[in-house]
């Protein structure tokens, strides 16, 4: 214990020195609660599907407890706060997804009987699982600790970018401690054809092991190599390949591998295990490990991880209530968990065509949940992760090179076609328009254009040209695709225009208006239409679609009605003018749905508004476009206050790789990118008394908000750099230049502020 304390002190001194902060200053990492989003508060509700484990910003390794042995969509991060037992700690996790994947290299310490199966989640007596209690569990950025009650083992985890670090303290009076390594731990093998193709565990010496697994699953083919070292000598090893057991072998190859390593823990010293990962080779895993964790200073790595997080979180410093700061910094933390680095220390990575390539100039990132994250997460990165945004864009372009079109949902460097649209396009176009350096614009345009003309799954561009809408009989999810494709086309058109490609500009601009072709004036909704030009009957705007077999994707006609972010004036016109439009918005936020008309991805309701899924995310800001910004302020505040919590539920639906969090971060600051690629933010209802954005160019942008109580949610007046701001919009360039935005809030709406008509000049 003494050594441990000394190390913590050293770690702390390092941090204090690095940041020159006074000890009294509260670290922003202390506001992050990694348990937020890890499990619903009751059985019928949803949570974020986040994980509580240890990781560094945008890292390759997420070392986190899995309560699920075979995780599925229900707890896609592997961990459900409501589960009573832990099956072990695996090294890779997705944050907030609806589909489970990764869970590489599960590690579990144990004493007593050497269990080789995880056992039942509710009965830890049947396998290597252990009961745990949230009283004896702790998580903070880069660090996780839990008492494994069945074994009285204290398990601590930390991580670097490409390596995990475990510290297991066995109970006193114990002689033998075991550490299990399970290479067969994956998502539910019934899903996505998941299976281990081949794997290896090799015992190099009594302190060192390495190996790999090759598997197919939601990611079509992943290779995961590792190299691990233990602080104590292995006194015995048992490697199990399904029905075969191998004792003290130097290497076992198989497709159902588990190993148990025995250690002498009589001296009361913990067993430490550090493990480097690589998608390329064990040699790279070794290099990743040695370059990131040189020695056995666990607490030093904890402190280093904390310092990395502090550095990232400090990009936005806010003043406000402890609860809101907790939700805010946890949201920022969740937003910065991914995209995940996928290249090794030496620059090697596996491209989308499964070819190992090398890029020493820039890191390669993956985990692009683009249907979610293009909306707010990527715009947020263009403000506070500018250098990484360039790397993200170039990583997206790498898929174009290897695959022929840009990612839809890129996982471990590979395309899984989850959801619809081609929303790498707005991400790339936005980054270019925002002037991020390091992007080859002509190459980017080629990628963006070819991704918009090369027919692929759910993107039948020939039908798009032929029918000028998606016919449901030829392409299901047709309304959602029509709307989202029109938006992507608008983005392509803007870039074409910038590059002087006039005919392309005209072509894609024309396509960007095809959304109008599925507007049914009679019902005043976008509706599914077949290739014969006839509307699908019967039509119920409350009817939900899932992911196929219906014109709507994870939503209904109400939720998708608003999806014309590039031509809101056109949508208003289509609806019959501002009055009709605002009335429709009012109905949207108040119309209750019959209970059986939801699917699991629509949740977090305010009327028909479903904050639990992305199609709604921009809608509360649309009142700004019809001169009623106080209603935006009202509903944004309601969402902030009612649908985000500081308990373990956290979110009203999947957190979705940072999107749900980025919505909160933007809304807390007081604005939101309704069109994620036009450099304009719609102003909502800021709630921190002060928020300072530290930009990478050295500038600062400060948002000050004067209010008397928490009920003061309505903007009374606003100033930008000392001058009155009367439109409810803010340009990206104003943020980047640095400056100050001041708001005065009050309890009642000021129906005169922000009512100026929107004009093109703003864009």
């Amino acid at each position: 214990m003494r050594i441990s304390l000394v190390l913590i002190c050293i770690g702390w001194l390092v941090i204090v020195k690095a940041y020159g902060q006074q000890e009294k200053e509260v670290r922003l990492t202390s506001y992050v609660n990694p348990f937020i989003g890890t499990g619903p508060v009751d059985g019928n509700s949803l949570s974020g599907n986040n994980y509580p484990g240890a990781t560094v910003p945008f890292g390759m390794v997420q070392l986190s407890p899995d309560t699920k042995d075979i995780p599925d969509w229900n707890a896609a991060s592997g961990y459900d706060y409501n589960d009573p037992t832990i099956a072990g700690f695996s090294h890779t996790h997705l944050s907030g997804t609806g589909v489970a994947e990764f869970f590489d290299l599960l590690v579990m310490p144990m004493t007593g009987e050497r269990h080789t199966q995880a056992g039942d989640v509710n009965d830890s007596s049947t396998g290597y699982r252990s009961k745990f209690s949230h009283d004896k569990e702790q998580a903070k950025p880069g660090y996780y600790k839990v008492q494994l009650l069945d074994y009285d083992i204290t398990a601590e985890l930390t991580a670097t970018t490409r390596a995990g670090f475990h510290r297991y303290t066995f109970p006193e009076q114990t002689h033998e401690g075991y550490i299990l390594l399970d290479l067969n731990h994956t998502l539910n093998k019934g899903a996505w054809g998941t299976k281990i193709i081949q794997s290896q565990i090799r015992v190099l010496n009594d302190h060192t092991i390495e190996g790999f697994r090759v598997l197919t699953g939601w990611a079509k083919m992943r290779k995961v190599y590792f190299r691990a070292e233990f602080s104590k000598p292995i006194v015995r090893n048992l490697i199990i390949d399904g029905e075969y057991e191998y004792e003290n072998e130097r290497v076992v190859n198989g497709n159902n591998l588990r190993a148990i390593f025995d250690f002498d823990v009589t001296d009361g010293q913990p067993v430490l295990m550090k493990i480097g990962l690589s998608p390329v080779s064990t040699a790279n895993a070794q290099e990743n490990l040695s370059s990131e964790i040189a020695d056995w200073n666990f607490d030093g790595i904890v402190a280093a991880a904390d310092a990395l997080w502090e550095k990232e979180l400090r990009k936005i410093v806010v003043e406000g209530s402890e609860k809101k700061k907790t939700v805010f910094y946890t949201s920022l933390y969740h937003a910065f968990l991914q995209p995940n680095l996928m290249s090794d220390a030496n620059g090697d990575y596996v491209a989308t065509d499964y070819v190992t390539r090398n890029n020493k100039e820039a890191p390669f990132y993956s985990t692009f949940s683009l249907w979610d994250t293009y909306r707010a997460a990527h715009p947020l990165y263009t403000i506070v992760q500018q250098r990484r945004s360039t790397d993200f864009v170039n990583s997206l372009l790498s898929q174009y090179d290897a695959y022929g079109y840009l990612p839809i949902w890129q996982l471990w460097g590979q395309e899984n076609y989850c959801m619809i649209g081609n929303h790498a396009i707005p991400v790339i176009v936005d980054a270019i328009f925002k002037g991020l350096p390091g992007i080859d614009i002509e190459r980017a345009y080629e990628a963006v254009k070819n991704s918009s003309v090369t027919t692929h799954l759910n993107s039948p561009f020939k039908l798009w040209d032929q029918y000028q809408y998606m016919p449901e009989d030829l392409q299901t999810q047709s309304v959602s695709i029509t709307l989202e494709m029109a938006y992507d086309d608008w983005c392509v058109a803007q870039l074409a225009k910038k590059l002087g490609k006039t005919s392309d500009y005209e072509y894609f601009t024309k396509r960007s208006l095809y959304y109008k072709n599925i507007y049914d004036t009679k019902s005043a909704f976008f509706r599914g239409k077949n290739s014969d030009g006839k509307w699908l009957e019967p039509f119920d705007p409350l009817e939900y679609g899932a992911n196929g077999g219906n014109p709507f994707t994870e939503g209904n006609a109400w939720q998708y009605f608003w999806y014309v972010p590039h031509d809101i004036e056109g949508l208003i016109e289509l609806t019959g003018g501002k009055s009709n439009f605002s009335q429709k918005l009012d109905t949207f936020f108040t119309l209750e749905t019959a209970a059986d008309a939801t699917n699991h991805n629509a949740s977090g309701f305010i009327g028909q508004y479903a904050h639990g899924n992305e199609p709604s995310h921009h809608v509360s800001y649309l009142y700004n476009y019809v001169g009623q910004p106080w209603k935006t302020q009202h509903y944004v505040s309601e969402i902030v206050n009612r649908l985000y919590t500081d308990n373990h539920a956290g979110y009203p639906g999947n957190e979705d790789c940072g999107q749900m969090s980025s919505w909160y971060v933007f809304s807390a600051l007081g604005f939101y990118p309704v069109n994620p690629a036009d450099g304009v933010y719609a102003i909502g209802s800021p709630f921190f008394s002060e928020a300072t954005i530290q930009l990478e160019n050295g500038n600062r942008f400060r948002i000050k908000t004067k209010k008397k109580s928490e009920e003061d949610i309505y903007i009374q007046s606003a100033k930008l750099n000392g001058k009155p701001l009367n439109v409810p919009f803010l340009k990206h360039e104003n943020i980047i230049k640095g400056g100050e935005l001041e708001f005065i809030l009050g309890k009642s709406p000021n129906k005169k502020w922000g009512t100026s008509p929107i004009t093109r000049s703003l864009y």
Copy 2:
């Protein structure tokens, strides 16, 4: 036609110039009949499972017709001579295996209707298949030609090391010719979990396509990249991914891809397609293609392939009957088809741990069907493929590095554990004892030893140490494994001795005698024994085992009785002396089996002797060890004359990647490696009047045989370098030094020749 003739002439001139031969000299390639072994002569018999297509010696590409759409063990090469239709031409094949695998990138030309499914083997009207006739089919080394009767298309194929070259001549008066590329063509998807994980077809321009497929099958995970060019512009392309159709797209990704490319063939010119393969990347495939097929000279590539074969075949020049020369040179051809090169022109290859590595110094080979080929194929390579033998050994050692033990059956660089034993060991030990340069002997010893102590599938060395035999209840196929493991152990012991590792030598020598522990004196057979030391009951020496669930592997107690190649004196002693032993041999060659007591891998019977499978292969030579070499001469002659044919059946069982052929090559020369790693060959009954081995060191070894008729099969006398040779054995070093071995044969046995007792001094 004129151009084609000119090109043939140019090709011929190139060859004539390269070899300085007179035009009158008959090319040895003309004796090769690639149809040998391609199909049984009647439905109940077996053939070699060879393919008739185009390939170069030890090449990566085997471009050959597949009559099977989903091949299985029945025609594991994809082609059955008895089938009436061809489904297309794919680029990779195994020669003579019992398991089907590869079949990458099936290409099929067609006219008329664009079929997208292969259709039924007996009904070419249902898909893209075409009827064909052996009358209008031709094959020679590096060239295959067939008339596709349904389309009246002349299809011609040739190959370089890593590229295939197609020439399709469409019928006159035809305007549109189609070429189909099927990336979903594999072995039977019901077997080995075979499925396409991901694939891509990309149309780079109107002459060029590229792509890849990643799949799992008998080889756990293969990546096959390609780059192809057409001699004519593609006027239209249709790419099908299962239910989806893509017309004139630039790229399609999917897991069920077929493409049809349309060409204007109005001008009567053929459509040529050249295609480079790579296991690493499309960039490498492109480099492989451009470095091997620079232009469109199809006939030049045919001539070059022929020249490569002529060079290899000319390593043994024989004089004899046309029929025997046909069988001999086809056997030599089959022996030189594999191991297959698996590294790219730039040295890249995928190692056994799925990591892309590079070796610019030496090629990397795979396709090691070692349980078969260690017996005679690899010993043959140590005589006539010495440089490649070093590469083979170093390729085997590469698996040790990546996998922890040496190959059992290595396919596409990966282990598939087919069969039993660790017979890379004799291959490596033999190469070292034969003094092949370029092998790091200490490294090789480490690999050989660790492969003999690291328990893995079917090699439970801890049981071996504990029981000193394989207990059937703990390790099935126990008798076969005990015998074969004892032999491998003897090999390890010899290398240990050479390196002065005395304790290792003693340990492995002790293990090499464990075979005695399963000898049942009562039945006078090796028998299955359980861990309790009791023999398995009931015991029937005629009962066959397959590949598990029985002490015997693809054989019975009779066939496995003889498998002590390293201690034949010990076996003789065990049997009760030479007389008992020779009587037992007599019974073996005469005892008929009940018809229902065979399995498909035992075939080609002479009594219990089953030449159709490997365990019998050395047995006819065992009479030499008991002073009755004339019986060896008798049975070897019977096998040669009865079980090898020059028709399409060819072999009495799977040709097994060169083993069945190598047996013939050795036996034709007059000797055979009974112990494949002791550098001694047992003399049989040479049948060519003259055979000259051209060695890589420049020496020549000539075998002259005087006989009056084909019935003269018995050795009357022999001379080695002019001195009488009275033992029926020949040392490897005598061959390598060069020299002359003369035999005089007669119609009746000379029971005085070769009867000297064998002595250790020979070894």
